[in-house]
């Protein structure tokens, strides 16, 4: 081993480990005073670095840093949670607004279609109420029936919507008493237009007074 090889070698000669490289380095140090001096300096440096390491081995971050970090952690995650809740609430509000607007549009447009099916639904839904209150034809009837919805004839059972049909007839108001309706005697001779909802058996189930007649 020459001086250059020794200088590039990274071995601890005090270590009891044996090996061809270590043995050659030991041999070189014994015979070369310059390398022996270099090795001695290096050994002292390692000892001094070890001492410095021990002197600062106990050093640690002051506890105030942990407190500051935990405070920041809490603030950050609380803010994030609140932001998440606000976003969810915002989306829910937007969705509710859309549903409300769509519902309003539907309700606003639907009566103008004059849809018979809706009339059927209204007749079925309002049947019980009408039977209980005992509808009266004439001024009172107009008040109860806005001219677009059918009212169930007393004693009739609501049938399936698909099997019914609407028939418009002109008759004297007094003839409506034959259907079991109460008629105002003063207007019994008036001729009125009446839409009848006729079931599959040909019997009228519900009636309505079209708008122009009612007015």
């Amino acid at each position: 081993m020459n001086c250059e090889e020794f200088a590039n070698l990274d071995v601890d000669l005090e270590c009891p480990a044996e090996g061809p490289e270590t043995n050659a380095a030991r041999e070189h140090v014994r015979n070369c005073p310059a390398c022996a001096s270099l090795y001695e300096s290096s050994r002292r440096l390692r000892a001094e670095l070890r001492e410095l390491r021990m002197a600062t081995a106990e050093a640690g971050t002051p506890s105030r840093v942990e407190l500051r970090l935990r405070q920041e952690f809490r603030t950050r995650h609380t803010t994030e949670k609140n932001r998440g809740r606000a976003i969810v609430a915002g989306w829910l509000l937007a969705a509710a607004t859309i549903v409300l607007v769509a519902g309003s549009l539907f309700v606003w447009r639907h009566p103008k279609d004059g849809n018979v099916a809706k009339a059927h639904l209204a007749a079925n839904a309002g049947a019980a109420a009408m039977a209980a209150s005992g509808p009266e034809l004439g001024g009172t009837l107009v008040a109860e029936n806005d001219g677009d919805e059918f009212a169930l004839i007393p004693g009739a059972l609501p049938g399936l919507q698909d099997e019914t049909s609407v028939v418009r007839v002109e008759m004297q108001r007094g003839a409506l008493s034959a259907l079991g309706l109460t008629v105002n005697e003063e207007h019994a001779n008036d001729v009125v237009q009446v839409d009848l909802l006729v079931g599959p058996d040909g019997q009228p189930q519900a009636y309505r007074l079209p708008q122009q007649t009612a007015n």
Binding site: N8, D10, S41, S42, L45, R46, E48, L49, E51, L52, R53, M54, A55, T56, A57, E58, A59, G60, T61, P62, S63, R64, V65, E66, R68, L69, R70, E72, F73, R74, R76, H77, E80, K81
Partner: protein, 200 residues
């Protein structure tokens, strides 16, 4: 054991990212001392080391997703972040080498290694230690960080290479060169008083 520690760190980091403060605290307590010592030995300032530790863990609070488990351990990641902060600090204050170690109250902390020695011997030891510190802090940053990691933090060449993001051979050569520079610096520091004494 080491693999268990790594997994534990990753689990703690995931829990911390979901808002678990206890997990964050555990993670902090596991790594703060190493990062603090590294920063202290690199900068020579207790206040700078404190600031660097705070920055490193603040980043973990704000951007936990910056850690990529495929690139290394949580410990190496924290060292890497600390290293960047240290380099920024050194760029700002390249010529300052104060050597104090202060405790939490801000008082200079002296660690006595062997109290049974004579006061003269202790004083000499302290002086030599200060010289070594001064010599370490005078090293160029790339040699300093290698000496700090391998000699003072006692990391293996492989661990140091992962943190420094360089090959193991580079760590070896930097350490070799760093030791030579340290020796030269110490010789210089010790020669000046000797010559001054000889002149008297």
């Amino acid at each position: 054991m080491q693999i268990e520690d790594q997994e534990r760190d990753e689990v703690l980091l995931k829990r911390s990212a979901r808002g678990d403060e206890d997990a964050f605290t555990q993670l902090y307590r596991r790594h703060q001392a190493q990062i603090y010592r590294f920063a202290l030995r690199m900068t020579g300032h207790a206040w700078a080391a404190e600031e660097i530790v705070q920055d490193v863990f603040m980043m973990l609070v704000r951007e936990p997703k910056k850690f990529d488990p495929n690139r290394g351990t949580v410990g190496a990641f924290l060292y890497g972040v600390a290293r960047n902060r240290v380099m920024k600090h050194l760029e700002r204050q390249p010529r300052e080498f104060p050597l104090e170690v202060r405790n939490e109250e801000g008082e200079t902390k002296v660690v006595d290694i062997a109290d049974q020695r004579t006061p003269a011997h202790l004083a000499e030891m302290r002086e030599r230690r200060e010289q070594v510190r001064s010599a370490v802090l005078a090293l160029p940053p790339e040699f300093r960080e290698t000496v700090v990691l391998c000699e003072l933090e006692e990391l293996s060449y492989e661990e140091a290479a992962r943190i420094l993001e360089c090959p193991v051979g580079t760590v070896r050569s930097r350490l070799h060169r760093g030791r030579a520079l340290l020796l030269a610096k110490l010789e210089m520091l010790r020669e000046v008083p000797r010559r001054a004494n000889a002149a008297l």
